[in-house]
Symmetry: D2
Subunit: 346 residues, 4 copies
């Protein structure tokens, strides 16, 4: 079989370079182009010396490689993807957007949260948002795939089985998430300067993070009714990983073992979701560098509260790995190809 | 004035040695005795070389110094404090317990959560639990002081003004706390081994941590009715600091500015509580090595949820600093003496 | 081709579990047995939950799997490998020792530094110590392979080209090395307890670390005369990685570009050594999780000193990865099979 | 006694804000002015929220407070101090420069290393460079004090007694130093962005760091002859602390105990230098947040090499603390006033 020709727009961002790392090891992919506005003309391994001897492609502009591509990944600030999607559509390349521009179906939600407008709704009509474990059937033919956000991935995988089983109150769910610093990207900011992020911890964007509508969109679809969440992210002094602790009210008389059974059944055939046994807690340590989502289930019977802890690597299952999983589905490859990576113990 | 003669039982534990560090700088205290079961016979600076040139007292047993003491601090595993308290009572020394044995009023709660029994209720009747900002009047004369737990301190200070103002539903409060690794103590365990705690993050004891009844006891007293909480602690890869994010349902139509005003008023005269201005988040970085509790106030109007973030140094306001604050109150000293420490920026 | 059947003795140590992680992804290997004294009877993924869904083999004793093995890896404290080597020899399995018992040729050196005696010299005569880039020809047929120590690997690769080129004084070389905490193993110790290793840094074993004779043995062979080194290791607050800064006196009039050329030529055909271009420094960040050794070359012309910085992942090129590289050589596989891992950027 | 009126130029840099933290607790000092180019018009606690309730002075320009000051501290990039020094001289204020402009006596050395020129030599003639333990007598009357660099402080204190005792070869000393990230300042750079500094380690400026001439100047004065050093700094993933490992050739037949005695005698009356007992290693952990320099002494008898490890807090003894120590000397206060801080254990 011919290899899939792939290009990466925004290759020097953290999600972009992580995608490159994974695609280098993907047996069915050839990377044929890398672009970067900031580093155009330099080779990628000048910017990222970890890539010496792996890739010394020169960073160029998207126009130069889109025509040769079967698939184009973009990892850009929001508001920049529509023209790229259009170019890909015209060139016959599948476009997988790791940014936010093809995640929200409702253009008013997008306008409200992102302070920008969708300018070409036909593009959005041809796109699908896809967390593979929930939506893989949607993307078998679409030309544009909205790759999910990192927080929403950990959260949707963590709550979905409970919603589907009808055991929780979906009118209000509390979600307390913590993300490693790569989630804030490669751009320099004071709060991610080493001496200010190290030995530090705080919430941010409490109740108004842009991932909120994406979480509610996914959960509402599953519930078949409007789900509201209170979502508070925190900045965690580690490089990689998101842990989300989710608090929901039980509406049924179920034991923690019953709930664990619901989850185990729900994810029985999923290679990338691991429902942990009794006594274990989801820990970002155990999913780092891999495409797994680990889920542990706990109960506070005193208050009838179901507590779900969900952990992913924000850069893999929360970004680059999931994009490859989506590509695999779209190109009818085995879903785990290029992602068969046992997470390291430390 | 004569200096207060102080002894520390359990001086080589993390709370013990932090207490020693602070007492060394306290202008009204002389440390006259240090005990340690594990290191008896060694000098404290052999165990903690940071103390070279500050203190080379030999570690001994409590019996040797209690008779000379005006105040004895103990930082021991639960179940060991009653006999010490009795000895101090007989010797006329104030006993300040940094452990858990004098925190819960209800002996059945203690038995349920700690799997041990109070053996001498008269001791407990002579004791008082004290978070100074809430209970300072209780301890002006008591011979035994139950020093609060670290999580309960951050949480009680974070919620109390909202409860007192009657603006929140107290039937169920969700508390998501994160603690630095010193909270787990000096004892060696696999999950606090550097390579397993570093670049890691997970919940533990979800819904069943022993600080739960202490939190509920304090909040219920304030509310005048039974308050239930769901409390989930997490282990944070930093040395020091606790951040608690508290989720409560608003029952009144108040703005975030109204709530901030309630808090600012409530803590107006408190040296160690800082209610942060609009736009700032409580961060453990800003309270480290100090006795402060920083509180920031946020609102998710979409779901009518009040979100409080509270940050302390678990070793200072959560343990040794608060013990000294309690000692200062008990001995009628200025409450901030020995604790006038601007937190470092990094 | 039939797969190589491999067993791991000491599979729950850090080097053991890292070896397992890498062997799981090795296309030519089947892991047929894992042993552990401490966890016998448990499954490996109970001890290391990162391995859920990858390996749930029960930990057993070496006797149970050695008879089926083509190769047995052991990662044990020194002094325990000889009887295992003998068993393997009798069973016809290649024995690769990640411990220290087959590294030193001179039994007196071993006795002096390790305070134990070789008890069966015939085993040692049948063994070979092998850093593949320096000694690969030695192990094509040997039944017992002494896998190098982590520090000596970074150092030997860092100095060898300069010695071979005859440009430095070999009578005294100064080596200042820094190792991540996994180098100290999984066993709990006070100095690797998170709060005591974090935000800390110090030397240890200055001038008397047990890797010293191994370093001198390798360098002396290359020089053809006795090389002496002063070696001071330090404990670095990271999980993985060793950086060695090596100071040598130049004896020839060469420029830094000349020296870089010597190194580039020396490692021209080596997949796992990267000589960095002018302006870059070897950084453990760029080799983590991979089998690379990055080498950067610097000069202090004012003092005629050649400074070499060499960085590896102590757990991969410094232990498990190099063991697999040695296995690949011994079994006539491509040397990089199972080790084709681009290091992550972060 | 009247308090000393102090101003800080560059108060929002890391050394500046650390100085402010320490001066707030200094019983003989009133801070009367803070300046910052970047944040002029804001209050200091807006920039550094750790200072809430301690200091909310508005950042202004130096001109506004120099006339009221008894002492002015400046912490600025090199090349900016001369005009400030002049202003202070004219205003009758002592000027203490934490930057590099008054450290080197030789204007050619300054020009060579800093690529700038001294423009007013009379200022330099009125200034003195002072590591208090070595040069305190020099500054009793001078109007301008050059506060030492962080690396040179750790190194000069570490080597001086050996040079004075005449036991080492001073023609070439090897110094391998490691500094926490605050040493790189508050300014944002890619290599100090959290995800790139965390779990990373490398050398930088090998053999050409600007602290080299300062080190050689101090040591040469002590030796009475030109001392050459090879100095290689490394960036250490911690917030605070410098450890320098110093390698020198012994020229006398002395034991490690003899050398320790030389050091203990040399620093007998020094409050801020602690020569560690046999078996201990200088660790940045034990000096953090304090003005101490811990020194441990080791020997590699096999190669006749004396190894000194020296640890300081780069922000205290390496910058702000030492500046206060110099101020105390200059104003005839007790040298340790405001610096009586037991370092924390963690």
């Amino acid at each position: 079989m011919n290899k899939i020709k792939a290009g990466i727009v925004g290759a020097t961002g953290y999600a972009g370079v992580e995608l490159l790392r994974l695609l280098i090891s993907h047996p069915n992919v050839d990377v044929v182009g890398l672009s970067s506005v900031s580093f155009e003309g330099q080779s990628i391994d000048q910017v990222y010396p970890n890539l010496h001897s792996w890739c010394s492609d020169v960073l160029t502009s998207p126009e130069e490689f889109i025509p040769q591509c079967d698939v184009v990944f973009a990892s850009l600030p929001h508001g920049l993807s529509e023209p790229l999607a259009k170019q890909c559509l015209e060139a016959g390349a599948v476009f997988i957007d790791l940014g936010a521009d093809f995640r929200l179906n409702d253009k008013e939600e997008y306008a409200y949260w992102y302070k920008k407008e969708y300018t070409d709704m036909t593009l959005h009509e041809k796109s699908a948002y896809c967390i593979p474990e929930l939506h893989r059937d949607r993307i078998k033919d679409v030309p544009i795939i909205g790759n999910p956000g990192c927080y929403p991935t950990s959260i949707a995988l963590g709550i979905t089985p409970a919603i589907k089983a009808g055991i929780i109150d979906t009118t209000h769910i509390i979600i307390d998430s913590k993300s490693g610093v790569t989630g804030a990207g490669r751009g320099l900011k004071q709060n991610t300067h080493y001496p200010e992020a190290n030995e530090a911890f705080s919430a941010y964007a409490a109740g108004n993070h842009r991932h909120t509508p994406e979480i509610e969109q996914t959960l509402s679809e599953i519930a078949g009714s409007k789900v509201s969440v209170t979502f508070v992210p925190h900045l965690l002094p580690v490089n990689r990983g998101i842990e989300s602790t989710i608090y929901t009210k039980l509406t049924s008389d179920v034991s923690v073992a019953d709930v664990r059974k619901i989850y185990t059944d729900a994810y029985e055939n999923e290679r990338f979701v691991r429902v942990l046994p009794d006594g274990e807690y989801a820990n970002i340590r155990n999913v780092k560098f891999s495409n797994f989502c680990d889920i542990s289930i706990h109960m506070d019977s005193r208050t009838n509260t179901l507590i779900i802890s969900s952990a992913i690597d924000n850069m893999v299952k929360g970004a680059a790995g999931q994009a490859i999983q989506n590509m695999n589905i779209r190109f009818a490859l085995g879903e785990d190809i290029g992602l068969i990576i046992p997470p390291p113990a430390f």
